[in-house]
Symmetry: C2
Subunit: 256 residues, 2 copies
């Protein structure tokens, strides 16, 4: 699993940002020094951690395009032990602005190197695409955690994602592994949820985290308060699932 | 609203594909000749209409990159009156392959021109990004319908989308309008759903369709049977909502 983990899946709305925010918070609560890098121009991870748009003057855009040092854009969040490198909408232009730069896929990896020793875990929240921003994250990461919504369309995209991870492994990052699959938004009342989770376990076996994140309304309410669900409602089933996932992640790291 | 409509929103998982498939089916049921163009490399709209991956030899990729005539890739679907121009995963490479072509944003509009008179409605299912594929759709469309999930993160992305639509209007397609906003996955038990829908109506007024699509498990089950929910379970609340939305769309077009 390693220290640097990309949270990626090109299928939209599967729980990437929710997993990055809450897994990051749970790991910080377990005394890890965590950096969350928001690689999505939508900036949902930055917002979900309470960073107002005007507090993001320096962002990942400046690190990738202007090669500003990563240390200059990292800021503390309201969660002790969790720092954030925020995203802004101009990140959307990065792909075109870097198109003729030979090192365009390596910018994040290069920038991260100088701050890496300050953190125990680095998480990248990726946008729902397989473009240059996700490529930067996959090239800088040691492993990929794939949130997978328990729905049919999400299952279909998994083989695309695995093919892409293999491609990045061959061309840019031979050490890249799939660190795990997290089943999200599982709905007990919907037999499709069980069908999908059984199907995924039969393909990915032990890579699938044993803890499943249930669909839980408190999880979707928390971002409107600018807080991770672990701070918004510690006791709810969504929070408890992310605490268990963090514990499982730390166990997997120790074993590896 | 016009004849050519892009279903777009860069936020992931908000119901773009579900809306494209089921609005298309409901319009075909109302005797419109409908073309659904799948612009997403994930190919969810093609799968949700029952097109097996091997039946997609010719796809939108060939239209955009090799300039194969659109008529050569259009195929009938299981829904009478609804034709499909399918997508394949190689569409992912189109953005890079077209990067040095001056007319890269106009390829879809040019290709569509030769078949336009054969259809009453053309729908584009867009991927969750604002890259070249969505740009092609916004440049070829007369209006944009924005599916909006009744969740906080989805609300945040709306202003980005509107800014981008304005930009496309200025540089590529002066006639482009926002045709409407459709509220999706509304959950009666979750007060956040009502907060979001009230907020959207206060900003967008009459642009918001009066019919709201409820969260309905039958909608998410239908794609695993390769059918639109209107064919899978006509009576369910999801199907009935899309029938009403189609009727509302046709009324709006007559008035315009
Ligand atoms: N366990 C859960 N229970 C209920 N709602 C959830 C849960 N996890 C995520 N959500 C909600 O579902 C929506 C999609 O989740 P999220 O934004 O984290 O997905 P994403 O994969 O990051 O989306 P994108 O592809 O746009 O980046 C959000 O509104 C979020 O609040
Ligand atoms: N009204 C609804 N009730 C229940 N589930 C729904 C509803 N609408 C869509 N879904 C499910 O939610 C998921 C996301 O919907 P969909 O794939 O249509 O969104 P999208 O915006 O096209 O996603 P992407 O951004 O990846 O293209 C799918 O699994 C779909 O089956
Ligand atoms: Mg996200
Ligand atoms: Mg889609």
């Amino acid at each position: 699993l390693g220290k640097v983990i990309a949270i990626a899946n090109q299928k939209g709305g599967v729980g990437k940002t929710t997993t990055a925010i809450n897994l990051g918070t749970a790991l910080a609560a377990a005394d890890c020094r965590v950096l969350l890098v928001d690689m999505d121009p939508q900036g949902n991870a930055s917002t979900g951690l309470g960073l107002a748009a005007r507090a993001r003057e320096r962002s990942i855009y400046h690190v990738l395009v202007d090669q500003v040092p990563m240390a200059d854009v990292i800021q503390p969040s309201q969660v002790p032990g969790l720092s954030v490198a925020p995203a802004t909408p101009d990140l959307l232009g990065a792909e075109l602005e870097l198109v003729d730069k030979r090192d365009r896929a390596l910018r994040l990896r290069q920038a991260l190197a100088e701050v890496l020793d300050r953190f125990d875990v680095v998480l990248f929240d990726c946008p729902p695409s397989l473009g240059l921003l996700t490529l930067n994250a996959l090239t800088a990461a040691e492993s990929v955690i794939v949130p997978l919504q328990c729905e049919f369309f999400a299952l279909e995209g998994l083989s695309h994602l695995v093919r892409n991870i293999e491609r990045v492994k061959r061309s840019f990052n031979p050490g890249l592994q799939i660190g795990g699959v997290i089943l999200t938004m599982h709905d007990r009342r919907n037999r499709l949820s069980d069908m999908v989770s059984e199907d995924v376990r039969s393909h990915f076996g032990d890579l699938v985290f044993s803890t499943i994140v249930p669909r839980n309304v408190r999880v979707s309410e928390a971002p409107s308060h600018g807080k991770p669900v672990l701070l918004y409602d510690w006791r709810c089933s969504g929070s408890q699932a992310y605490v268990k996932i963090a514990a499982e992640l730390l166990r997997r790291r120790r074993k590896a």
